[in-house]
């Protein structure tokens, strides 16, 4: 379903439907639940679907590049913290070979269904090769 700008902010309009990354309802995120030790950091993280809804809103608002970024972000919600940091490190200049970048792209797509990120990293691999930004 495509969200529209009139649904914004989702915090107000979709308070009953929003889910956390861990799958809980937003309404479960209460002071009492925290005090009882029933919640952890994963329960206060955003869900991929929410980021896709925000991407729809950004696109309608005339911010297509931000929408694309939020779409890639949605794909990364399931990628563990340490892996995210490693991928970022590999994308820095002169860190990875061309094939390492292609393998990384395939891995992200196969493991997390991260199609947009995979395409984005493959584009980077081509440019890095052309501009001599691969590991020497």
């Amino acid at each position: 379903m495509t969200e529209t700008m009139s649904d914004y902010p989702l915090r107000d309009s979709k308070a009953d439907e929003l889910r956390t990354h861990s799958g809980r309802a937003l309404s479960d995120i209460t002071a009492e639940a925290i005090a009882a030790g029933a919640l952890n950091g994963d329960d206060l993280r955003t869900h991929a679907d929410t980021l896709r809804q925000q991407a729809d809103i950004a696109r309608q608002g005339g911010y297509p590049q931000l929408a694309a970024n939020l779409g890639r972000a949605a794909e990364l919600t399931d990628v563990p913290n340490e892996e995210l940091l490693k991928i970022y490190e590999l994308l820095r200049p002169e860190r990875a070979s061309y094939n390492e970048l292609l393998r990384l792209a395939d891995y992200l797509e196969a493991t997390y269904g991260a199609k947009e990120n995979a395409a984005f990293i493959k584009d980077a691999a081509e440019v890095y090769k052309e501009r001599n930004l691969l590991r020497r």
């Binding site: 002071a31 950091g41 955003t46 911010y63 590049q65 990364l76 913290n81 984005f120 440019v127």
Partner: protein
């Protein structure tokens, strides 16, 4: 060599502590219009850009490739590039063209085209452009909170105060990188004590910054730096793709991001390739947009002194803010790093962003003393808080902050410090003592704080960073320690992270913790009567500086009982003898009892009469009722005087020596600076009046010139005059008075 005293003085002025340099395009020391900047061009073939700004696809560097593939809207590009640059410039300054119309076309412009548009614009037109193109309707402000001691209680106290002062974002950084988690924690707890919904960040190396965000200790990041040449970008250890990935990684954790660019960095890094700062900034901004960042921090930032050393530098900084707004980016507009020694210059520069308004007028107002600022000194600091509030009040311009009272500051600082003390205690971190809380509550800066043992703090910071504890643990700690309201604010930040509304362009949280962004608060300025302007409660709050007094307070100290020694006898007659007539204002010695300088009316009368007597004459006293004007009062005295010499005296102390043959508004001597007049002056006035009456040679009374008196006392002057004017009876003739006094 002969030395001009004036040039010698000028050489010592603050403005001459600056460095100025002539342009050198080959080294990138040119703010705009380098002879090596390319002319705008764009060739599209089969849906691909094959040439941009004179460079063929095969010669594109990584930035060109990124811009061509990610940033430009190919649907509008051909029409956008065909429209003359001057037409864009005119649309930007034209109140009848809404932002959306222009933004659609701008999306298809190459970097050189963007720069070419600016060529046609002066500063005033660019300010109009910024007022319209800024993406969020309501302007806001960001604060920097750091201290050289990296003291957690002081960080929390300053963050709490900054939040209370209305800053929508608070940024900290580190002196010692290992302190990052604790500094981030202190400003998180501090800000959420001051006001729920203030966004916070800790400026550190990229990967560490992401780790802090993952722990929930920060809610935004803005140190994703980009540069305008490929070589500088790589020197910065990133590519557009790595930066874009980082942006997505932050967003995947529900954290707002903003990139950083700004003129001068390429020249500073020796890699400007002969291009102007503004052209390189246009490339940066297209990379920022292409990477999907919602916004940018620009306005030269830490390099600001470099463009300011060059001609047109301040104009170029405004131009880069405008370019970012044109591209639909949130702009945190600079004004952060120390840019000038001169208060005149730094304030003049600020006006270029302050008057049109920006998403964030400062990308870090230094809400701390300059000495405590770890970002390289603030251009405006805590010492300037009152100045800044007055600027808002003067111009009815929302600069994103509000005045607070000393009591409010003390109270919120103590609470913020106590809250971080409680979190440290609950999480088993090195204790913060009550003495440290007491110091932080009243402190101005690090110098007012006791020393802390840094070694255990750093060890605890390392362990905290390595461990699992995150902001959920912080919320629980605050709950356990009785800071339920602060805990609730951080919890609501967590819910907002789940909803992710604040990832939209230019998002902040308002005073009611509601998100406000370019989606639900889009700038709709189309000229007078439209767009944002402070009104209602916000304007009342901006006016209410604690220094403002009620008008009654100015007059009350001068009100008194009528002088028992001053008795009214009856209508005044014209005298025949050689005398001086002292004519008093209608409230003198009646409704009012002292002059503006605080002299008792009785003493003033004695001084004048004593002066007249010292020259061997007698003075008659009359009260004028029909006017409160000094010249009119004195003129009445002169006309009633047998000698033709009169003294006019208003209740506030202003005096005149008049002569009946002169025009009413002329005089022999006028003493308009009543606050400077002493009893000795009044005695001299009496003497001189008598000498005029005697026809003796007379040297005018010397009066101290105090050009600040009017500035200090104009409100009181106006109100005392108004009080005297209340006593005017237009039809009542001058009355003869008797003052019970004998010459000594």
């Amino acid at each position: 060599m002969e030395r001009s005293k004036r040039f010698d003085l000028l050489a010592k002025r603050d403005i001459n502590k600056e460095t100025y340099v002539e342009p050198w395009p080959e080294a990138g020391l040119i703010v705009a219009d380098s002879p090596y900047d390319p002319a705008p061009s764009l060739t599209i073939d089969d849906g691909r850009i094959i040439e941009m700004d004179g460079v063929e696809r095969c010669d594109f560097d990584a930035l060109d490739i990124f811009i061509a593939s990610q940033a430009l809207d190919l649907e509008t590009a051909e029409a956008a590039m065909a429209l003359p640059s001057q037409d864009y410039a005119r649309m930007l300054a034209d109140i009848n063209r809404p932002r959306a119309d222009i933004a659609r076309l701008i999306a298809g412009c190459s970097p050189a085209k963007l720069t070419d548009i600016i060529r046609h614009m002066n500063v005033l037109e660019m300010m109009m452009g910024l007022a319209k193109m800024r993406i969020r309707r309501t302007p806001a402000n960001q604060a920097h909170v750091t201290n050289w001691r990296e003291h957690p209680a002081l960080l929390a106290a300053d963050a709490a105060e900054a939040a209370l002062r209305g800053f929508a974002e608070v940024e900290t950084t580190v002196r010692v990188a290992r302190f990052a988690p604790f500094n981030a924690l202190a400003i998180l707890v501090g800000t959420q004590t001051g006001r729920g919904g203030v966004l916070t960040q800790c400026s550190v190396e990229e990967a560490l910054g992401l780790r802090l965000a993952m722990k929930g200790l920060t809610s935004y990041a803005e140190t994703l730096s980009v540069y305008g040449t490929e070589k500088t970008f790589v020197d910065g250890d990133d590519s557009p793709w790595s930066k874009a990935f980082l942006a997505s990684a932050y967003a995947s954790r529900g954290v707002k991001i903003r990139f950083t660019s700004g003129t001068g960095s390429e020249a500073l890094m020796g890699r400007a390739e002969g291009k102007s700062m503004l052209y390189l900034e246009a490339r940066c901004l297209l990379v920022v947009k292409g990477a999907g960042s919602q916004g940018v921090q620009n306005g030269s930032i830490s390099c600001i002194a470099l463009p300011e050393a060059l001609p047109g530098g301040v104009r170029a900084v405004l131009a880069e803010n405008l370019l970012a707004s044109m591209l639909g980016l949130e702009v945190a507009a600079g004004n952060d790093a120390l840019a000038s020694h001169s208060s005149i210059r730094k304030t003049a520069k600020l006006m270029l962003q302050f008057i049109p308004g920006a998403d964030f007028i400062f990308s870090g107002y230094s809400a701390i003393p300059k000495r405590d600022n770890l970002f390289g000194g603030g251009n405006f600091d805590a010492e300037d808080f009152d100045d800044y509030n007055v600027l808002q009040r003067d111009m009815q311009i929302d600069g994103g902050v509000r005045p607070i009272t000393e009591d409010e500051a003390l109270s919120i600082r103590r609470k913020g410090a106590r809250a971080i003390q409680a979190v440290y205690r609950e999480l088993g971190l090195p204790a913060i003592s009550d003495a440290e809380i007491d110091a932080a509550a009243v402190a101005h800066g690090s110098d007012d704080m006791p020393e802390r043992d840094i070694v255990p703090d750093l060890e605890a910071a390392d362990a905290f960073m390595a461990g699992d504890a995150d902001f959920v643990a912080v919320i629980r700690a605050l709950q356990n320690a009785g800071f339920g309201d602060v805990a609730d604010n951080i919890l609501e930040m967590g819910r907002q992270r789940i909803a992710a509304d604040y990832l939209q362009p230019s998002a902040i949280f308002d005073a009611d913790f509601k998100v406000r962004s370019a989606i639900n608060d889009a700038n709709d300025y189309v000229g007078p009567g439209t767009g944002y302007r402070p009104a209602g409660q916000r304007w009342r709050e901006m006016q209410a500086i604690p220094q403002a007094k009620s008008p009654e307070g100015f007059v009350d100290p001068h009100v008194g009982e009528p002088l028992p020694r001053l008795v009214e006898l009856g209508p005044a007659a014209k005298g025949a003898q050689r005398e001086v007539v002292l004519a008093l204002g209608p409230a003198f010695g009646g409704a009012l009892a002292t002059t503006i300088g605080g002299l008792d009316h009785e003493d003033v009368l004695e001084a004048i009469l004593g002066g007249v007597a010292a020259e061997g004459l007698v003075a008659r006293i009359v009260r004028v009722y029909h006017s409160s004007d000094c010249a009119a009062i004195g003129y009445v005295g002169a006309r009633l005087s047998g000698s033709g010499i009169g003294i006019g005296l208003q209740s506030r102390g202003t005096a005149v020596i008049h002569q009946r043959d002169l025009a009413p508004l002329n005089n022999l001597e006028l003493f308009p600076q009543s606050p400077s007049l002493t009893l000795a002056t009044y005695e001299a006035i009496g003497r001189n009046a008598a000498r005029y009456a005697l026809g003796a040679p007379t040297v005018p009374v010397a009066v101290e010139i105090d050009n600040g008196a009017r500035l200090r006392l104009i409100v009181k002057t106006a109100l005392l005059h108004r009080r005297e004017t209340d006593e005017v009876c237009p039809d009542r003739p001058p009355m003869e008075l008797r003052f019970d006094w004998e010459p000594a």
